[in-house]
Each structure stands twice: as structure tokens, then as C-alpha cells.
């Protein structure tokens, strides 16, 4: 079927065209905008479902648009990309609902939702990219579309954060650009294939290939917030809560991690990586990031900043899983892509709710909030426990597989890193939970929830509840075939070929 090759493009276009259409809507046209947003998000989920069904049955979708001189824009639905697409589609819907409530009564909404949709289409593009070139195109596109979201508030602080964000991401993009052109002059337009393509490059170019590998990691590492390159992430916290949620859970950070997965598995190939002995370095970088992020998180009083550093550390689990060779660690890493996304988005939704409902943004102010906002804090608790890795939350599954994988490839130090970081996770999450539920507020008496919160309660509350629920379900039903874990096993099977 020829038409079915267009399916990936349709999926991309649902959010892209929505974005463009929203730009042209007048500011006051709230209902049309909301309808357009939600309708398209649902449509997208439906299309993704269709795609998923096809891929599961072994159908290959490939959309190819020749751009110039042998470089094509390729949209390719393989099992790995589907995982990411699926995640982004679902979380887009939830975040959109949340954002509609969150932004009620503020200005510049058309611009916000326009870029919001474009940002998701960029993420979809990254997920579906069938070659490095396409990946780069959407990666840069993501930078451009998230920038207006980061500076959305237009305050001095926001603009400053936006500048930092741009500086990091554009530099990363430039490095990536450089590396990619270099690679393409050695190996031509590099289509992603399972188990990589670069092993065919002649041995005399291997030193260059290794340098390119690290340049690529550097480029993607900026967005994935690998440690020396993470500076933008905590600063970008000034953005509105839905943006932070999107940035941390789905779009930016994940795009970086996803890029690294693509490079290691589908461009270089795991065996070729082993042959070049380049994964060890990556693993060490990831481990440092994990520990460093956790420690920094401990000392933050601002809730969103603490979550930001938590992201720094958690995303590197994915990279660690990729770098620790072996199928089981791979499963752990890739599945964490989904799990971390779901859990982190819950946390950010909740942080946003606290800020909106009770004007609380600091952990020291959180004593006893559980009593005033029980649902929000309930969702927060589930997600935080998941982050720590308490069974039966989803986070446990990923950590389990990571640990098992490390044992399997007999890299004990990785297990140690995991344990240490779990301890640290507990150290920075548990006090929050404790304070929220069991401590009494010593401050001035409770003034009551804001009117904004009471008016928009359903928009703001349902999304975190759903994601919290998903956190639980993904943990409990991890064994089912269409659960993230099941799907990741399928991916791993294809990557390792056995």
C-alpha cells in the first residue's frame, strides 16, 4: 500500500498544521483553539495507534523526500521510533489539557499553543527520523520552537534563561552539524539501520569515526543535559509549568537521549561500538551525571529546580543503559525513556499545581500541603516513589533491568552507581513527601486555594492523576505485550538480533 507510507508524515503534520493554524487564530478565540488542540492530539494518538499496529505486524513505513544531492528527509517508523512517538503523542494530549487550564486568562496564548504544537511535531520528527540528516533537521527545529516557549513570560529572567538555553543548544547543534557533515563525507548520507552501518567504513578512517562519535555525543548531550553541558536546564525552569513538563519529560531532554540511542544502536551499531571501545567513556559520563545531578538536587529549595536536577540525573539512566553493553541493560535504558517521562511529567504538573493553587514554589513552604491539595500530592507521591525505584512503580522496572544488565556484563561499578543514586533520590524526594503529608504548617494560617485553581481544577488535576495512574499501571502490568517493557523487549530483540 503506497498511501501507508505517508502515515508517518500525517502524524507529523497533525501537530505541525495545528501549530500553523493556531498562529492565525485571534487571541480571544479560546474555544476554537482548545478544540483544535485537543482534536488533533486525539487524532494523533489514533494515527500512532494505527502505525503501531502496522509495525507490530512487521509492516515497514518509510516516507522519503529527496532534499538535495542524495540527502533525503526520511521518516521511518521502526519499533524504537514508535516508542518515542507514542510517548510524545500521549503526553502531548495531557500537557495540552493541562496547559489550557494553566494559561487561562494570560496573554499571547495563540503564540504559546502554536509553538507548543510545533515543538511536539519537532519531537515527532526526531522520533521518526530515518537518517541522521533528518534527525538534525528536526533537532534544530526543536531548538527554535522551544525557545519562544522558554521566554514566553517575557520577563527579564525568562529572557536571560532563554539566552542561556539558546547558547547551549545552538552550540550543541553546531557541533552536531559539524560532526554530521564530517560523517557524511566519510560514509555518505547515513540512514539508520538496525545494528548500524558504519562498520563498513574502512579501518584507516576509524580514528576519525571515533572523534565523530564523541562530537555527536557532545551535540546530543547538550539537550540530554549530560554533566558539563547541563547548565541550561535548571535555568530554563522560569518557563511556565507545562513547558517545563514538556521540556523535561518529552521534548528536549528526551530528544537528546533518543539521539544518543540512535547513534549508538542504529548508526554505529552496538558491535561496532564495542569494537571501537567507545562506550566505556559514555558510561562514565552518564554515571558522573547521575551522581552529580542527584547531589545538586539535594541542596535545592526551589521545587522546580530540585526536579530539574533530578531530571539531569534521571535522563542519564537511559544513557547508562545504552552504554552498559548487553541486552538487559538496553531494555532498562530504553524503557526508562518512557517511564521517566511519565513520572517526571507528573511531578512537574504537580509542582505547577502547587504554584497555581497555593502560590508555593519552595520546598520549605510545603509543610502540610497534602491536606489542602490531596489529589495533587497523591499523584506527586506516586511519581516520586517511582523515581526512587520503589516497587511496584514503573521506575522500579527500569532500575531493575539496569542493575541486572550491569551484573550480566559484570560491571559492578554500575550497580554501585545505581544504588547510590537511588539512595540520593530517596534523600531528596522523601523529605518532600514527609513534609507534605505529616508536617504541620508553622507559617501564617492557610488562606484558601486561589480562585484560578478552583476555576480550572479539572484541567489542572486530571492530567497528573492520569500520569500517576500510568506510573502505577506500567509497573504492575509490565509483563503484558503492549506495555512499554514488552515493546522495548521487541526493540532489543531486533537490535541484538537474537
Amino acid at each position: 500500500m503506497i498511501m501507508s507510507n505517508w502515515l508517518p508524515l500525517f502524524i507529523l503534520m497533525t501537530s505541525f498544521l495545528t501549530g500553523i493554524a493556531i498562529f492565525f487564530l485571534r487571541e480571544e478565540n479560546h474555544s476554537t483553539r482548545s478544540f483544535l488542540n485537543i482534536f488533533n492530539a486525539v487524532l494523533k494518538i489514533f494515527l500512532v495507534g494505527l502505525l503501531m499496529w502496522g509495525v507490530f505486524n512487521g509492516h515497514v513505513y518509510e516516507f522519503r523526500f529527496p532534499l538535495f544531492l542524495g540527502f533525503d528527509i526520511v521518516l521511518n517508523a521502526d519499533s524504537l521510533s514508535l516508542l518515542f512517538v507514542c510517548l510524545s503523542a500521549i503526553l502531548w494530549l495531557l500537557t495540552t489539557i493541562y496547559a489550557i487550564g494553566y494559561l487561562k486568562g494570560t496573554s499571547n496564548q495563540s503564540r504559546f499553543f502554536g509553538f507548543f504544537s510545533l515543538c511536539v511535531s519537532a519531537t515527532t520528527g526526531i522520533a521518526l527520523a530515518g537518517n541522521l540528516f533528518t534527525l538534525l533537521v528536526f533537532y534544530e527545529f526543536l531548538t527554535l520552537t522551544t525557545y519562544p516557549l522558554v521566554v514566553h513570560k517575557g520577563t527579564k529572567e525568562a529572557v536571560k534563561a532563554g539566552r542561556v538555553y539558546l547558547m547551549y543548544t545552538l552550540l550543541g547543534g553546531a557541533v552536531l552539524f559539524f560532526a554530521m557533515v564530517w560523517l557524511s563525507s566519510l560514509a555518505g548520507p547515513a540512514d539508520f539501520t538496525e545494528r548500524g552501518i558504519l562498520s563498513s567504513v574502512a579501518t584507516e578512517y576509524h580514528p576519525q569515526i571515533i572523534i565523530i562519535f564523541f562530537l555527536l555525543i557532545l551535540g546530543f548531550g547538550v539537550k540530554a543535559a549530560l554533566v558539563p553541558l547541563h547548565g541550561w536546564l535548571p535555568k530554563a525552569m522560569v518557563a511556565p509549568a507545562p513547558v517545563s513538563a514538556l521540556l523535561h519529560a518529552v521534548a528536549v531532554v528526551k530528544a537528546g537521549a533518543f539521539g544518543i540511542i540512535r547513534v549508538v544502536y542504529d548508526l554505529y551499531g552496538i558491535e561496532f561500538c564495542q569494537q571501537l571501545k567507545i562506550l566505556q567513556g559514555l558510561a562514565i559520563m552518564a554515571a558522573i551525571t547521575i551522581i552529580y545531578g542527584s547531589i545538586r538536587a539535594l541542596f535545592q529549595d526551589d521545587l522546580k529546580r530540585r526536579l530539574a536536577y533530578s531530571t539531569v540525573s534521571q535522563v542519564s539512566y537511559i544513557i547508562l543503559g545504552v552504554a552498559a553493553i548487553g541486552p538487559i541493560a538496553t531494555i532498562g535504558g530504553i524503557v526508562h525513556l518512557v517511564h521517566q517521562g511519565i513520572m517526571k511529567i507528573t511531578l512537574f504538573f504537580c509542582a505547577g499545581n502547587l504554584a497555581e493553587g497555593m502560590n508555593i514554589s519552595r520546598i520549605s513552604e510545603m509543610n502540610g500541603v497534602g491536606r489542602h491539595m490531596p489529589w495533587t500530592m497523591g499523584a506527586f507521591t506516586i511519581a516520586a516513589l517511582g523515581m526512587i525505584g520503589v516497587p511496584p512503580m514503573a521506575g522500579f522496572i527500569s532500575k531493575w533491568y539496569l542493575g541486572m544488565g550491569a551484573l550480566q556484563s559484570s560491571q559492578l561499578w554500575i550497580v554501585l552507581v545505581l544504588l547510590l543514586s537511588s539512595l540520593l533520590n530517596a534523600a531528596y524526594f522523601l523529605p518532600i513527601i514527609y513534609a507534605a503529608w505529616f508536617k504541620d504548617s508553622k507559617e501564617v494560617s492557610f488562606q484558601g486555594l486561589t480562585t484560578k485553581w478552583t476555576q480550572n481544577r479539572r484541567y489542572l488535576l486530571y492530567p497528573p492523576l492520569v500520569t500517576a495512574g500510568l506510573t502505577l499501571l506500567m509497573g504492575i502490568f509490565a509483563g503484558l505485550p503492549f506495555s512499554p517493557l514488552g515493546w522495548v523487549k521487541l526493540i532489543t530483540l531486533r537490535e541484538y538480533g537474537h
Binding site: 498562529f23 529527496p66 532534499l67 538535495f68 544531492l69 542524495g70 540527502f71 496573554s107 499571547n108 503564540r111 538534525l136 533537521v137 534544530e140 527545529f141 531548538t143 527554535l144 525557545y147 519562544p148 521566554v151 514566553h152 513570560k153 517575557g154 520577563t155 527579564k156 529572557v159 532563554g162 539566552r163 539558546l166 545552538l170 552550540l171 547543534g173 553546531a174 557541533v175 552539524f177 559539524f178 557533515v181 564530517w182 557524511s184 563525507s185 566519510l186 560514509a187 555518505g188 548520507p189 574502512a202 578512517y205
Partner: protein, 506 residues
């Protein structure tokens, strides 16, 4: 090879602008404007038609007056010239549409001021069409002396357009522009004199066959290159460009930065890689490359320091010209890299034309609305003037070289040429230049995104202006998506070995 065709379409593309320039002068402002806009559209259709015919039947020559070269003057049509014609037409049409709105009476302005714009509008059209006609002559001519006359037409109309505003700044920059561009023309003419004295022919194609390496050729090429470098405003002789481009009315800045710069660059490329291929020394290319490199960095750093938007864009032009000149050292490398260098340089120049024209149009719209172009007072512009800022952002993408845009494709190809020929320092430079470009573009964008100062007054910008700048910037982006078409056209009768364009070291 090339055939003689009986089609007169190419003559019409040259003569129509002159004809309508004359008509505009005769008809006065109101009717002149209409004539101008209609002509622009006709020209676009004509050039597209010409492009299709070249695409189908290959390159051709046309002997003006029936006297073919060496006695007479030939018009030659090949991929490169058709591409240049086509993009001039597209950019020109957008600029014409923009000028249509720009010189109209402005609501909310004093009568005196409006009279000023009306008078500018009266003379803008004939001068602009002469510039356009001159460019078309330049792109199609195959005779080095005829090209000199074309260069003069372009320069004179450009200078008059710069001076159009009548302010001291405008007059001063026009005067400076005049001296340098005339110096450039004369030096070029001297080179022509040397070539003719040595070889007795003026036709580019014939020269290619008779030219021999030696003292005289070197001197001639040096002189011609020097002249054209002055006109293109490459690094050490770039100082005249920013004031001239920044002090002109917005449509004029778009014409200058977009098209006029492209014209002299085109000529330089044509001479170096078709006529003089046999006698160019690689070291000369490296020299131009070094100048280009300094221009990229210096221009971008200067752009960062500017407080006025148009001045910033003008310095950005200086930097982007530097990129175009990277073509010269990169083309000297191996045959795999050549195709990329050639394609990249040309592609860069056309996408720069689109992007910079769009950016200047937006700058003009902002000046129209606010009455100034101080960057620090752009707060809240994204909210009040979203189409313009969006167009600026799109144009900026191309200037920065972010995908998908024409600038990206151009940079990609140049970068690849640098990699393939092993001149990786140019690759680093290209990347560094992009980052600097991002710095100055986002410096503007971030201020527009800041919350607005309440109570600031602004004129309403006509939709026609907004849409034409938007269309122009879309074109800059479209160049990144539909790169195949221009590149295929460029391959027609290309002097460079294009076969291995997909190639990589294996």
C-alpha cells in the same frame, strides 16, 4: 554544445525592465507604481518560462543585432545565469510588492512627511527597474565590456536609490558608495583593456579558449577581481557597505543587500570558474578565502555591536559575503569537493538574497511602524507585530544556517566541500560564523519577545508590506526544502564536475 535559438524571450527579460523604467518615469507616481508591479510579475513569469526552456533544451546563445561574437555581443543562457535571473525576479517581485505599500501615503503621518514619501516613490520605480535591467544584462551578457556597462548601470541606479532619502547620512553614504564602486568599475575596465589587448576578443566563451597563463593574464585577472571585490565589498574594502545599505529606504536596502551584491559576486564566479579556469592559481583562491574568513568573523562581531537593526543587518551582509567567498578556496580542491563548493557558494548567495531581502523588509516595516530601528526599543514587538517578527525569525533561520532553510543547504554544502578537500579549518569557521549569526539574530528576537512597554504609539503597517516580507522569508525557507530544483538547474552546463555530488570517500 550550445545552440543558437530563435527565441527572443531572453531579450525581453532584459529589455522589459528598461522599458517599464522609462514608462514609470513618463507616467509619474500613481500609474508608475502600477506599471512597476505588473512588470515585476510579468518578469517573473518570463524568467520561469526561460528556466523551463533551458531545463528542457539546454544552454543557448543569442547574437544581438545578428552579429555573433567576436564581432557582436552574445547573450548566453545556461543554468547559472537562468538561476540568477529567476531569483532576481522572485526577490524583485516581492520587493516591488513591498515598495507598493511602502511609498503609499501613510495614515497618521504629517502631510509634509507623506509628500516626502510620495516623491521618493516617484523616482524609486524608474531607478529600481534600471537596476533590475542592469542586473539582467549582467547575468546574461557574454561580453566583458558589455558587462562593464551593465555594472555601471547597476551602480548608478543603486547609488541614486541610496541617496533617495535625501538625508545627510544617505547622501554621505551614497557619495562614499559612489567613489568606491566607480573605482571598482574602473579597475575592472582596466582588466578588460588588458585582456582585449592581449587576446583581441571580448566574449567570455572565446576568451576561455584563447587565454593562456602568463604575466598579462595574471595582471588582467587580478585587476578584474580587485574591481569586483570592491564592488562586492569583501573584507578590507567593505566599509562603504554598511552605511549605504543601512541608510537607504527599506526596499532599497533589500535591493542592495539582496541583489546588487549577488550581481557582482555572480560575475566573479563566472569569470573565475569558466573563463579563467585554466590560468587561475590556487593560491589566489586561498587568498580570497582568507579575506572571506576575516569577513565572516569581523562582520558578525560588528553586527553584534550595532544598536540599529538595519546597521546590524548590513554588517551581517558583510559576514555573509565572506561565506560566499569561501567558494574560491574550496573549489581548488579535489573533484569530489568541487561540486559541493560550487553548488554551496551559489546556493548560499541566492538564499542570502532571499533571506536578507526579507530581513530588510521587516526592518523597514518596523521603522514604518515605530519610526526608528533601535534594537533596544523593540520590546513587545512579537506581540504587536507578529507577522513581521515571524518573517524575521524565518529569514534569521536562513542567515544562521539552521535547517530547513536555504542558508542551511548552502552551509552544508560548503562545509562538506571543506571536509572533502581536507580544509577543515574552513569547516570550523563556517560553524563559528553560524553561531555568531545566531547571536545577533536572537539578540533582536529576544527583545521582541519581552513584555511590551505600555502606551507606545505605532503606525499600522499595511498588510501588503507584511505579506510580501513574509512571502520572501518563506522563500528563504522553501529553498531549504526544494533544493533539488535549483541545484538541477545549476548543473546545466556547469563548469564543475557534478557527477560525484553524492560522493564520499569510500
Amino acid at each position: 554544445m550550445t545552440q543558437i535559438i530563435a527565441s527572443h524571450a531572453s531579450v525581453w527579460t532584459i529589455m522589459l525592465p528598461f522599458l517599464s523604467g522609462v514608462l514609470c518615469f513618463m507616467a509619474g507616481r500613481r500609474i508608475g507604481t502600477l506599471i512597476g508591479v505588473v512588470t515585476a510579475f510579468i518578469l517573473t513569469i518570463l524568467t520561469l518560462n526561460l528556466g523551463v526552456s533551458v531545463f528542457q533544451s539546454g544552454p543557448s546563445r543569442y547574437a544581438i543585432g545578428g552579429w555573433s561574437s567576436p564581432l557582436g555581443i552574445d547573450i548566453h543562457l545556461d543554468g547559472l545565469s537562468v538561476l540568477m535571473l529567476g531569483f532576481t525576479a522572485i526577490v524583485g517581485t516581492c520587493i516591488s510588492m513591498y515598495a507598493f505599500g511602502y511609498f503609499k501615503d501613510r495614515k497618521g503621518l504629517k502631510k509634509e512627511k507623506n509628500k516626502h514619501y510620495a516623491k521618493m516613490g516617484t523616482y524609486f520605480w524608474p531607478l529600481w527597474f534600471f537596476a533590475w535591467g542592469g542586473l539582467n544584462v549582467l547575468f546574461l551578457s557574454s561580453d566583458i565590456f558589455n558587462i562593464y556597462v551593465a555594472l555601471e548601470i547597476v551602480s548608478f541606479s543603486a547609488i541614486a536609490l541610496v541617496a533617495l532619502k535625501g538625508s545627510v547620512d544617505a547622501l554621505l553614504s551614497a557619495t562614499r558608495y559612489f567613489f568606491l564602486t566607480l573605482l571598482g568599475s574602473l579597475v575592472y575596465l582596466f582588466g578588460v583593456g588588458f585582456l582585449y589587448s592581449a587576446y583581441g576578443v571580448l566574449d567570455l566563451g572565446l576568451l576561455e579558449t584563447v587565454i593562456r597563463p602568463g604575466m598579462i593574464s595574471t595582471v588582467a585577472i587580478t585587476l578584474m577581481t580587485l574591481g569586483l571585490i570592491i564592488k562586492t565589498a569583501l573584507f578590507p574594502i567593505h566599509f562603504w557597505l554598511p552605511p549605504a545599505h543601512a541608510n537607504a529606504p527599506a526596499p532599497v536596502s533589500a535591493i542592495l543587500s539582496g541583489l546588487v551584491v549577488m550581481g557582482s559576486f555572480y560575475l566573479l564566479v563566472r569569470l573565475w570558474f569558466e573563463t579563467f579556469t585554466g590560468v587561475i592559481m590556487p593560491v589566489a583562491g586561498q587568498l580570497l578565502g582568507v579575506l572571506g574568513a576575516i569577513a565572516i568573523l569581523g562582520g558578525a562581531l560588528q553586527a553584534l555591536r550595532q544598536s540599529r537593526l538595519k546597521m546590524m543587518l548590513a554588517y551581517s551582509t558583510v559576514a555573509q559575503i565572506g561565506y560566499m567567498f569561501l567558494l574560491f578556496p574550496l573549489l581548488a580542491g579535489n573533484s569530489i569537493g568541487q561540486g559541493f563548493a560550487w553548488g554551496g557558494g551559489i546556493y548560499f548567495s541566492i538564499s542570502h538574497a532571499c533571506a536578507k531581502a526579507a530581513a530588510f523588509m521587516v526592518a523597514g516595516s518596523i521603522m514604518y511602524a515605530l519610526g526608528h530601528d533601535r534594537i533596544k526599543d523593540f520590546r513587545g514587538l512579537a506581540q504587536r507585530f507578529p507577522i513581521g517578527v515571524f518573517a524575521f525569525a524565518l529569514a534569521g533561520m536562513s542567515l544562521m544556517g539552521l535547517p530547513p532553510s536555504g542558508g542551511f543547504i548552502g552551509k552544508w554544502m560548503l562545509l562538506k566541500a571543506a571536509m572533502l578537500t581536507g580544509q577543515w579549518w574552513y569547516a570550523l569557521l563556517i560553524v563559528a560564523g553560524s553561531i555568531l549569526a545566531a547571536c545577533y539574530i536572537f539578540r533582536v528576537l529576544e527583545i521582541t519577545l519581552k513584555a511590551a512597554n505600555p502606551g507606545e504609539k505605532a503606525l499600522h503597517i499595511p498588510l501588503r508590506m507584511q505579506l510580501s516580507s513574509l512571502a520572501m522569508s518563506f522563500f528563504a525557507i522553501l529553498l531549504g526544502l526544494a533544493a533539488t530544483i535549483p541545484l538541477e538547474i545549476l548543473k546545466i552546463d556547469s563548469p564543475v564536475f557534478f557527477q560525484s555530488m553524492e560522493g564520499f570517500i569510500k
